[in-house]
Symmetry: C2
Subunit: 442 residues, 2 copies
């Protein structure tokens, strides 16, 4: 049986889980795939100083640096689990230039430098697999590239950041405040000491960028993706949303607007409580895809964690190993068919934030006084924004009370203009809370 | 760009959808996969007499019979969408013997003759793809074979028959009786004029057999799979289940018991209302897989219909086309790696029905009289079956009233023995209703 020799870069939570699960399932994988995957070299910081069993076994495979890893003539494919856009980028590019396929879990790199990587991949005939970059252990990327290859993707939306979903779940189910829920997430190991990257939506936006590139069939520029995090979410707004029949989730939302043209955004979103994503709690991820042929298909499962992510890395790695075997035993000169619907190296257009149409939830702090609603409604009306419902908890005349408005579809640009005018009204006493509402019916 | 030539057998709902969607997405598929799939020959009954646009285009490709289809030297792979175990079996076997890969949606054939087919497939190096055989458009089979290849599958359960799920949903949500819900399903086109095959659980059992073969890593014998349908389900039992916190679903349940050893069954099952499958309504299919590395992953989507099923067939067909291209352009003699974790040709052992352990829901019609519960409890106690809760709606002494018992884990054999004794009690006035209860916690 053919052995495929792997170079592993990075030995953190995911890297060590890949090493461990590859060893413990070696026979199973050999039987299932007819090949033996073997890690023959590892590049990692501080590995030799660690104490665990896997670390000791791995330390024997340690090479000096990433250049040695790529240059190692035994290494047939590279697994990049370093993360970030620095050394990881250089490693992947040099691996592709050496004609060695790459498996990576690096969403940040794919989102910010995907086009450069896919161009280099195509040029050197060395594919890149990235199942673990989005939604952890859920085999979503393969579904989009292969299982649903017959479909144009009209709509994709999902919960792709477990930290935010954990925090919003605690706030929804237990009434915890944002800061309290964040501290719990940190105590449980679901949030970093510096949680900025997760709670401000950047991690979800990286994943949305990768998914949008697949939906659009061409690379999406991460810097064009509108992002809003969950730092400003209050239990009060979650409760008002519930009274109106909605749950609040941080969603990545992607709509196809045509070939290589896509709307993509990440923001807290009110969705009907009957939507299946409304009942995805905790760190679980879930993604709904609307295909032109198949209809709506939904995936859910663990979105993070060493083991779950290693499941995705190992499946990519076996696919890459198969590619290596096919490549080596092939007639000279014949190009090996690439895996289907890779992102491609063209750039996709991204709809500007102002042009995006959705429904809105507005919460205003207003003086409880006759005529207030009329003034606000007339500003919205002038901007051609229709009101679908109003919720005004009973208050005391003359006091500041919350006024909740749900609108019909409105362009984001028109909503921003109307909000600027509303904020200048003397009866409006606090910065309005503005949240998007999606029903995903069309 | 390389064109791959396909022979299509069968032109019913799925066959015509495959033909239509392949034509309308030809450019998309070519761009994504770097190959052009082209149907060059079709074998189908009565095709030439039909009137639609796709039928007229297809009629020009009509060949005389299945033998001509396989023998056609242009045909590089066969798509079998005839169904059943007669001519479909002969077609697939002769195609494999001619070294031509096969794509099929035929769960009945795989369940009843899978081993014969996989042995022949291996012998001739011609793979069989069968994504469309289970859960329609959901890319589940590929996930089990490839995306989750790093995992042993400990548990798999799912709603895999849309007809039954539609009927049970109507009964649950609207209180329709079984006959009424069945007639509605027939009126909506979700049930056949003769619904036996669906409502008695055989279709679900065929799918369970295919899934169990993947879980076990070896062929499961369909005739060993215990099957129970939904014909005897009443709204009364659904309501009692709801009062106890459960929903009723027809489930396929598969547990791994070790290498090539598996527990597999299909029956109506009470599951906690909090389980995500409890809120899968209508004709939607959903499957939960528990992997040893990844944890719990769930898939849901359309389980039937021409378009949804054609999405799965086309993805298989593109994978098979890639195989054909790789095979033809390959160094002579080198065996082409098979797609991972194909079922294999070994037989798997199936746990006998009597040995299966689960919790139970029992509804007895008993005379409302002191001491009745004690007598029943003592029979269950003697069989070492513990009672976890009792529900007895208020009745009138001397009348026949329902008595609902929920038990702890019990072997099916022990339960059957206890039930035989309970039925002989003079105070038990009707045939007990016996339903399995699963929480899937371990």
């Amino acid at each position: 049986m053919r052995t495929v020799h792997i170079g592993l870069a990075g030995f953190g939570t995911v890297g060590s889980a890949v090493f461990r699960n590859l060893q413990s399932n070696a026979e199973l994988l050999a039987r299932r795939c007819g090949m033996r995957p073997e890690i023959v070299a590892i590049a990692a910081k501080n590995l030799s100083s660690r104490a665990g069993g896997a670390e000791r076994a791995a330390a024997r495979l340690l090479v000096r640096d990433l250049d040695v890893l790529v240059a190692d003539s035994r290494v047939e494919l590279i697994v990049e689990l370093i993360g970030g856009c620095g050394v990881a980028r250089r490693l992947i590019l040099s691996s592709l230039r050496a004609g060695k396929p790459v498996v990576t879990a690096n969403k940040a790199l794919l989102a910010e430098h995907g086009r450069e990587i896919f161009i280099e991949s195509r040029r050197h005939g060395a594919p890149v697999w990235f199942e673990a970059s989005v939604a952890g252990g859920i085999p979503l990327i393969q579904a989009l590239r292969e299982g649903l290859v017959a479909n144009r993707f009209r709509l994709l939306y999902g919960i792709v950041n477990g930290t935010c979903n954990y925090i919003l779940s605690r706030m929804t189910l237990e009434g915890a405040g944002f800061e309290e829920a964040l501290r719990e997430a940190q105590a449980q190991g679901f949030a970093e000491a510096d949680p900025t990257f997760d709670i401000d939506g950047y991690d979800a936006a990286h994943k949305a960028t990768v998914l949008a590139s697949l939906v659009a069939g061409g690379c999406v520029n991460f810097r064009k993706v509108p992002v809003e995090g969950i730092r400003h979410i209050t239990v009060e707004d979650i409760r008002f949303a519930q009274r109106l029949g909605y749950a609040l989730k941080l969603l990545a939302i992607i709509r196809s607007l045509g070939p290589n043209h896509v709307e993509v955004r990440v923001h807290p979103t009110l969705i009907p409580v009957t939507n299946r994503l409304a009942s995805i709690h905790g760190v679980t991820n879930a993604v709904m895809v609307r295909g032109s042929v198949v209809g709506d298909v939904e995936f859910s499962g663990p979105g993070a964690g060493g083991d779950a992510t290693s499941s995705a890395v190992i499946s990519d790695l076996m696919e890459a190993a198969r590619h290596v075997v096919l490549q080596k035993e092939r007639v000279k000169g014949a190009p090996l068919p690439q895996p289907p619907s890779a992102v491609g190296s063209v750039a996709s257009r991204v709809a500007p934030a102002e042009s995006i149409v959705s429904r809105y939830y507005l919460r205003l702090g207003v003086l409880d006084r006759p005529g207030v609603l009329a003034r606000i409604a007339s500003i919205l009306g002038a901007a051609k924004i229709g009101i679908s419902s109003v919720l005004q908890p009973e208050g005391h005349e003359g006091r500041v009370v919350p006024l909740i408005l749900m609108t019909h579809d409105a362009r984001h640009g028109a909503m921003l203009g109307a909000l600027a005018r509303i904020r200048r009204l003397p009866v409006v006493k606090s910065r309005p809370v503005v949240l998007r509402v999606e029903t995903f019916e069309s």
